[in-house]
């Protein structure tokens, strides 16, 4: 027993620091994870190099790790379901990560859907806001706690059915996107709130960022599959989740049109469906050439067989970029164009 103990403690002490790494390490968004892993697997199969390790840490956590420094013990790439923030970029620069390459890989649509058995429904963003915001303006423009109990309370054309919406919790990137892509535009269309936006942006932001807590909006967990299953069991509820889950489960759930546009591959790619967000992969240029395979991996990611119209990422549910954007991504990836702080928020 003593020998084992000695052997293990010796191993623990002398194994590190990390040896020269020959495997690409990627962290970041769980939304981009299904796509990056697909590329990683194909890269591993065809290149003869080691298959990259892809961690699912969330966008924020991924960027934090990515920006923690340049060196073999930091990740080479990170997935993000939103653009890098100015503060994160500055954090990166401070820690010596001075050359970041940004590659836009596609879009993710946020869909609102219900069970196939439910009555058909069409919503506008304004109605979504009125159904889900914690506080809404009353007739006089004064903010009151959301009184709407039934969909028909919002608009007579909507079904006489209890408002019950299943969505992601605040820790999820999907929730942030939903607030930005549906709640904010919805709020902006309501006159008193549009006035508030001009007068007091902070107060306005608080209004569209606060979701109801009286049971009409149910935080159903990070796992989109769980929301889908709950919708199947409860035809009265409506759910919010990523488009790929809608596509995979088209036999049991159906889309709710937003502002008259249904979420389909085509409408999201063309930009007609407004509730979609771009997905990014960030590459640490300083690691290119140090960790073998990064340039080849990035080339695989933007290649026609992956990112193209008929590519394998499309088959996995990624909404691929339209022609010109795809060309730009390809050019960025080939040239390893370094991101600058201009234009970041």
């Amino acid at each position: 027993m003593k020998k084992v103990l000695l052997a293990v403690s010796a191993l623990a002490l002398f194994a590190g620091p990390a040896l020269a790494r020959d495997q690409i390490r990627i962290v970041g968004s769980s939304t981009v994870y299904p796509f990056t892993t697909t590329v990683a697997e194909n890269f591993g199969k065809t290149s003869g190099m080691k298959t990259p390790v892809v961690e699912s840490t969330g966008t924020g956590g991924g960027l934090k790790l990515f920006c923690s420094g340049a060196g073999e013990d930091t990740p080479d790439m990170t997935n993000a379901s939103r653009r890098i923030k100015k503060s994160e970029f500055e954090d990166c620069a401070k820690n010596g990560v001075s050359e970041i390459v940004e590659i836009k890989v596609g879009f993710d649509g946020l869909s609102i859907a219900a069970s196939k058995e439910a009555a058909p429904m069409k919503l506008t963003k304004e109605q979504i806001f009125l159904a889900l915001a914690k506080q809404i303006p009353d007739k006089d423009g004064k903010l009151i706690d959301n009184p709407n109990k039934l969909w028909s309370d919002i608009d007579a054309s909507l079904p006489k059915q209890k408002i019950e919406v299943l969505g992601p919790p605040p820790t999820s990137g999907t929730r942030d996107s939903f607030a930005e892509l549906a709640m904010e535009p919805g709020a902006a269309k309501i006159k008193p709130l549009a006035d508030l936006k001009k007068a007091d942006v902070k107060a306005y932001d608080a209004v569209w960022k606060s979701m109801r807590e009286d049971g009409a909006f149910v935080e159903a967990g990070e796992n989109d599959n769980l929301i889908v299953q709950k919708l199947q069991a409860n035809p009265a509820a409506v759910g919010i989740f990523g488009f790929s889950f809608l596509e995979e489960n088209s036999s049991t759930i159906k889309d709710v049109e937003i502002d008259g546009v249904a979420a389909t591959y085509e409408t999201i790619a063309s930009g007609d469906y407004k509730m979609s967000r771009p997905l990014y992969v960030y590459v640490k240029k300083q690691h290119v050439g140090v960790v073998p395979g990064i340039a080849e991996f990035v080339a695989e990611y933007v290649s026609e067989k992956a990112l193209g119209e008929d590519g394998y990422l499309g088959a996995k549910g990624l909404i691929t970029l339209p022609g010109a954007d795809a060309e730009k991504s390809r050019a960025d990836a080939t040239a390893m164009a370094v991101l600058t702080i201009d234009g970041l928020k």
Partner: protein, 495 residues
């Protein structure tokens, strides 16, 4: 009280009895409810998991073309190409590029893997035609398992006349068997019924029929579905192709060994647990070899040798508290100490094992101390009485008698370590790792993390894989507990 003794109050006694009966009933009901929940849970997971243990293969005559598979370097041969050619060869009528693509998408991305292995083992087969089972893709597999739609095949019992007008086909005659949305397979083609009007059915070609003969009873059949084409992930054409393969007997169902022999993959039909099982094993080796000796040593010292003062009391309280600390805290500690300070590699079983060792250490110490406390003091006193030193008394007499209790505590600790995911998130083991880890410093993941990662993927087929992985994890835990019970029974001694 006096009531009971003085009067022998019958009503009071009856009340006592009924109170006891009620209590027993509550106990039995509580037990029954727990058993019910457990049975429901396991049955539900089991039913979901079952399809994942099987896979469908298409049996093809594959020509191992020597020009595509170089005899000198079989491994790099274009097996995908020859398999694709063989698969398409079974459907000579299909030539358009998009149709071919749709047809080939029925094959798994790893369809040629088995054939490649066979050929590497038997290079003499190059240049010949061999019979090979090629793996089908997840959607085709789900369809054949009946999980995308229920397909009913009905033989045609009436006479139908078939005519073509432009792109449209018209069926006339006895239409009693037909309904819109069904597929009629006849004359080497397949027609989807678009609408039925008085006396005629309009249909569009899924696969154009070769001839326009009259359809006699028995020469045609109907496929009807529980889900319309728009509602499933496989289109009518693909269904017709798969059904024609099934009719030819070219579809085989096998036990999915690759679920245990493959590493992780993004293709559900290729994804396996070997990487996760190897990762769990490596992690547990590190955990056990650290926490068991340390835990037992600490327990022996604290129980038998340590002076009873304020310091040992503080240590005791802290050990008890540590056992209740949320596991994610240990992950944070692991990240700060082992990775950032000591510079150990991320995602490695070594770090995972260290973190989990810290996690189970308090459990092992507490269980070991309790086991030693349970050894009758007379045994130690007898040893001391015949002149044994304190150390001899402990190591020769107390510790061996405490082994069953220590083992139980250890196995419970291991079972906890085997099921942890939260602390591993911080140290990078929640990751997609294809290569099966072979050493303590290679990137690895563990079983519960694999379950967590699969549960979050959009592909429907992964939901069944998730359930199957849970069954495997439960099976391993069950075996561990069985070992614990066996060991306890074996070493147990009664006084």
């Amino acid at each position: 009280m006096t009531d009971t003794f003085d009067k022998g109050n019958a009503a009071f006694i009856a009340k006592r009895y009924s109170s006891e009966r009620r209590f027993r009933a509550y106990g039995a009901a509580a037990l029954a409810i727990s058993v019910l929940f457990l049975v429901y849970l396991i049955a539900d997971i089991g039913i979901r998991a079952w399809p994942s243990f099987f896979e469908h293969r298409a049996v093809l005559e594959v020509n191992l073309d020597a020009s595509k598979i170089p005899a000198g370097n079989v491994q790099t041969g274009d097996f995908e190409g020859v398999v694709r050619t063989a698969f398409r060869g079974g459907f000579p009528g299909i030539t358009a590029r998009s149709d071919l693509k749709s047809l080939t998408s029925l094959l798994s991305a790893g369809a040629a893997d088995d054939l490649r292995q066979q050929t590497v083992a038997n290079p003499a087969s190059i240049g010949t035609t061999v019979k090979a089972g090629v793996l089908l893709a997840d959607d085709a597999d789900l369809y054949l398992k009946g999980m995308l739609t229920d397909t009913v095949k009905t033989p045609g019992k009436t006479n139908l006349q078939l005519a073509q007008s432009g792109d449209e086909f018209i069926l006339t005659g006895d239409l009693s068997q037909l309904a819109a949305g069904q597929i009629v397979r006849a004359n080497g083609g397949a027609l989807r019924i678009a609408s039925i009007e008085a006396g005629l059915a309009r249909a569009e070609a899924v696969m154009p029929p070769v001839t326009l003969n009259t359809l006699a009873p028995g020469t045609w059949d109907i496929l009807s579905f529980s889900h319309a084409e728009a509602d499933r992930r496989i289109d009518d054409r693909q269904v017709v192709w798969l059904e024609s393969l099934r009719d030819k007997g070219a579809i085989e169902k096998h036990f999915a060994w690759r679920f245990f022999t493959n590493g992780d993959s993004r293709e559900p039909e290729l994804a396996g647990l070997r990487g996760a099982i190897a990762g769990s094993l490596l992690t547990l080796i590190v955990t056990l070899s650290l926490s068991v000796p340390l835990g037992i040593a600490a327990a022996v010292y604290l129980e038998e040798f340590a002076p009873k003062n304020k310091w040992t009391e503080i240590i005791e309280v802290n050990i008890n508290n540590l056992a209740a600390v949320p596991s994610i805290i240990f992950g944070l500690l692991g990240l700060a100490v082992f990775i950032n300070f000591m510079g150990l590699p991320r995602s490695a079983p070594l770090v995972g094992g260290l973190v989990l060792a810290l996690l189970v250490l308090p459990t092992i110490i507490i269980a070991s101390r309790a086991a030693m406390k349970a050894v009758p003091p007379s045994i130690k006193e007898a040893a001391l009485g015949v002149g044994a030193s304190h150390q001899q008394a402990v190591f020769h007499h107390v510790l061996p008698l405490a082994v069953p209790g220590i083992l139980t505590g250890t196995i419970l600790g291991v079972a906890r370590a085997l099921g942890e995911t939260a602390p591993l998130l911080m140290i990078g083991m929640v990751a997609f790792i294809v290569d099966v880890p072979k050493g303590f410093t290679e990137a690895a993941t563990v079983l519960p993390v694999q379950i967590f990662l699969w549960s979050d993927l959009p592909e429907v087929a992964f939901q069944s894989r998730t359930a199957a992985a849970i069954i495997v994890l439960l099976g391993i835990l069950f075996c561990l507990n069985a070992v614990a019970i066996y060991m306890r029974k074996r070493f147990e001694r009664r006084w």
